[in-house]
């Protein structure tokens, strides 16, 4: 019993990261129809940047996070403007190819600026809580809480604020949104800015709890898409449930079945869902 609980706790932290990545992806994919494959690498850039600000510039964690978020905000807008907007009218293949090219560029830039060795964002949270035999390190707990907070904030933003509602309007019916006066050129910028900021948060969490190294971003974005498919496109609750399910399933499978093929689980899930229920757990039937 303890083992199962422990594995569930184990899976929740990485599950939270998956949720954040998936949220960043679902915003862009659901609203703009772009499979922003570079999201993982850009998120890692956010983590690398935070590390750099803390170690080379001596800034405290909180300040570094704020700067990284601001950078993410701007970076997101630049990516939309320079990379995706030029192919907005063309076939969707082009946007995807651009996404692939962007991924290579960002991975290359990360390698150039930050090197090939792994980086870990230093924090002072070293305690370990033991609750009846189930252990949970302090940092892991904070990551889970932070992810929950961000999900709540995102939900409020989308449901309650004017910008959030405008975004949903564009997603549901672009032409009607234009008629109602929504500025459809600003919306993509905002969407990318938000998505990138969510990604930066994910990157910082990965950097603090685990490590950032070349190649980790791509692995995360693929898991993110698996969550998207599992949870249903454009659905925030879907992303949350999907991310947690994936994270916990991976942990349980590695713990009780085989750890060699742990990563394959995400793919098997993706493929099974596509075969059985293509709209995902929370999506509406097509």
């Amino acid at each position: 019993m303890i083992e199962i609980l422990q594995q569930i706790i184990n899976g929740m932290a990485i599950g939270g990261v998956y949720v954040l990545i998936a949220l960043g992806l679902t915003t862009v994919f659901g609203i703009l129809g772009i499979a922003h494959f570079a999201h993982g690498s850009v998120s890692m850039f956010g983590g690398y940047l935070t590390f750099f600000l803390m170690t080379s510039q001596g800034l405290p964690l909180a300040v570094a996070i704020i700067i990284a978020l601001a950078t993410g905000f701007v970076l997101g807008m630049l990516i939309e403007l320079l990379a995706y907007r030029p192919v907005r009218g063309a076939s969707h293949i082009n946007a995807f190819i651009v996404a692939l090219g962007l991924t290579m560029m960002v991975e290359g830039l990360n390698l150039q600026f930050f090197g090939h060795e792994q980086v870990v964002i230093p924090t002072d949270f070293n305690r370990v809580f033991d609750i009846g035999g189930v252990t949970i390190p302090e940092l892991r707990l904070y990551v889970i809480l932070a992810a929950a907070l961000l999900i709540a904030a995102m939900t409020i933003f989308v449901e309650k604020t004017k910008t959030g509602q405008a975004i949903r309007a564009v997603a549901e019916n672009r032409d009607a949104a234009i008629l109602m006066g929504v500025n459809v050129n600003t919306i993509p910028l905002v969407v990318f800015a938000i998505s990138t900021m969510l990604g930066v948060c994910a990157g910082i969490m990965v950097g603090a709890l685990f490590a950032i190294a070349p190649g980790i971003g791509e692995g995360l974005v693929i898991k993110g898409f698996a969550v998207l498919i599992l949870g249903g496109l454009g659905s925030i609750p879907g992303a949350v449930i999907g991310g947690l399910v994936l994270g916990i399933t991976e942990a349980l499978a590695a713990g009780f079945l085989s750890s060699a093929y742990k990563d394959v689980i995400a793919f098997v899930v993706m493929i099974t869902v596509l075969l059985v229920r293509p709209q995902g757990l929370m999506g509406t039937a097509r």
Binding site: G115, H116, V128, A211, A254
Partner: protein, 399 residues
């Protein structure tokens, strides 16, 4: 400081005062970029440094001629196709006959599969896949011993410590880590112990808590971690976080700095590393200490523990060329390599077989050591019981 451009740096250093002598181009094929660069780039640097030292001491003497070494290095990114391309370029386009480096098994295997048909000599460094020296390739030698040679010694050591139920967490999809564990298991079983479980992790994994939780439930009396240093550091930390209290033995290599990036010294305290006695300052020979100082000065960063495999290759090549008396006849040089006593300038501590550095498979053997993390440093505790001659015979029986 990221990447050193080897050929330009060497061009500046080497050619100045020695324009009158002859030049011998030697090649390096190694992972200079990408995830494996942490193994490949230091090797390439080591070859360059050795070449510069040899040149400064007058070069390689063959008959009346002195040859100054010129290193041409290509990046194979630890990718077999790139490695084949790099070596073909060295052989066909650059006219090179002696190729050093080779940090990574997949890439090295690809080259080894055609090198015996070429007019060349291939000197392998850090690549640990055993089959590279079981194929009876006459023009190939390797300075780094196969992993199972060390695994057997480690198994004996751990058994002697009285452990009977060992849980293994390793990069088991990689041949040489798996072969280390297999050899380890054989010795452990011989002493009455057993491996109670084998869990895996990969190069890019950073969260091994699921595997460790499973291991925790099984109540081992020791854990063996065999895999890459970057994820391994997380294993050591997460084991402590999960409350696992048993001795941790490893086959990971890795500097103090690489571990401290991830775990703090208390979490690492008591961890063992059972591996070839590579370059660790506290146990190094005089050559080793000098090498460490020179490399740090030349490149602005400390040498990696496995980089001397390539440094030693260069000196072995020099001695072999001088013994064979030719830079053209690669067969003669290859034969001379097999006949060589251990050169004076080497950094690693080799165990000669029949008085020679390389056995009849072209394989060299270093001592194996037990290192332990004590108070923030890797400390050499004792030599592991290793039988190079017996292993050499065993190696010859494998196809």
């Amino acid at each position: 400081m990221k990447l050193v451009t080897i050929t330009t740096a060497f061009a500046l250093a080497g050619n100045a005062a020695f324009a009158a002598e002859k030049t011998l181009d030697i090649g390096v094929s190694d992972a200079l970029t990408g995830g494996a660069a942490v193994y490949g780039l230091p090797q390439a640097n080591a070859v360059q440094m050795a070449a510069e030292e040899i040149n400064a001491a007058g070069g390689i003497n063959v008959g009346d001629d002195s040859y100054m070494l010129n290193v041409i290095a290509y990046d194979d990114q630890a990718n077999p196709t790139e490695a084949s391309n790099a070596v073909r370029k060295l052989l066909d386009r650059d006219g090179v006959k002696f190729i050093l480096g080779f940090c990574c098994s997949g890439a090295t295997g690809a080259v080894a599969s055609f090198i015996e048909y070429e007019d060349a000599v291939m000197l392998v460094g850090n690549a640990a896949e055993r089959s590279i020296t079981t194929r009876e390739i006459p023009n190939l030698t390797r300075t780094r011993p196969p992993a199972d040679y060390t695994g057997a010694a480690a198994g004996t050591f751990v058994a002697e410590k009285g452990h009977e139920r060992v849980a293994v967490l390793g990069a088991l999809d990689v041949g040489f880590y798996a072969s280390y564990v297999d050899a380890f298991e054989k010795e452990l079983n011989a002493a009455g112990g057993e491996i109670i479980s084998r869990e895996s992790f990969g190069l890019t994994d950073r969260d091994m808590t699921p595997q460790l939780t499973k291991i925790r439930e099984q109540n081992p009396d020791a854990i063996l971690v065999a895999g890459y240093v970057e994820p391994a550091a997380f294993i050591y930390r997460q084991a402590v976080e999960l409350g696992i209290d048993v001795p941790r033995y490893g086959f990971t290599s890795g500097s103090e700095e690489q571990f401290l990036r991830v775990a703090n010294s208390e979490q690492m305290e008591g961890v063992w590393d059972l591996r070839p006695t590579e370059l660790t300052l506290l146990s190094a020979s005089e050559n080793g200490i000098a090498y460490h100082a020179n490399y740090s000065e030349r490149f602005g960063i400390a040498p990696s523990p496995s980089s001397p495999y390539a440094y030693d290759q260069t000196y072995a090549l020099k001695d072999a060329i001088e013994a064979a008396g030719t830079v053209e006849d690669t067969e003669a040089v290859a034969a001379a390599l097999r006949d060589l006593p251990v050169p004076d300038e080497v950094v690693m501590q080799y165990l000669p077989v029949d008085g020679k550095m390389f056995d009849q498979n072209g394989q060299a053997y270093t001592a194996n050591g037990a290192f332990q993390w004590q108070d923030g440093n890797w400390v050499f505790v004792q030599e592991l019981p290793s039988d190079a001659a017996a292993y050499s015979d065993f190696l010859s029986t494998i196809d």
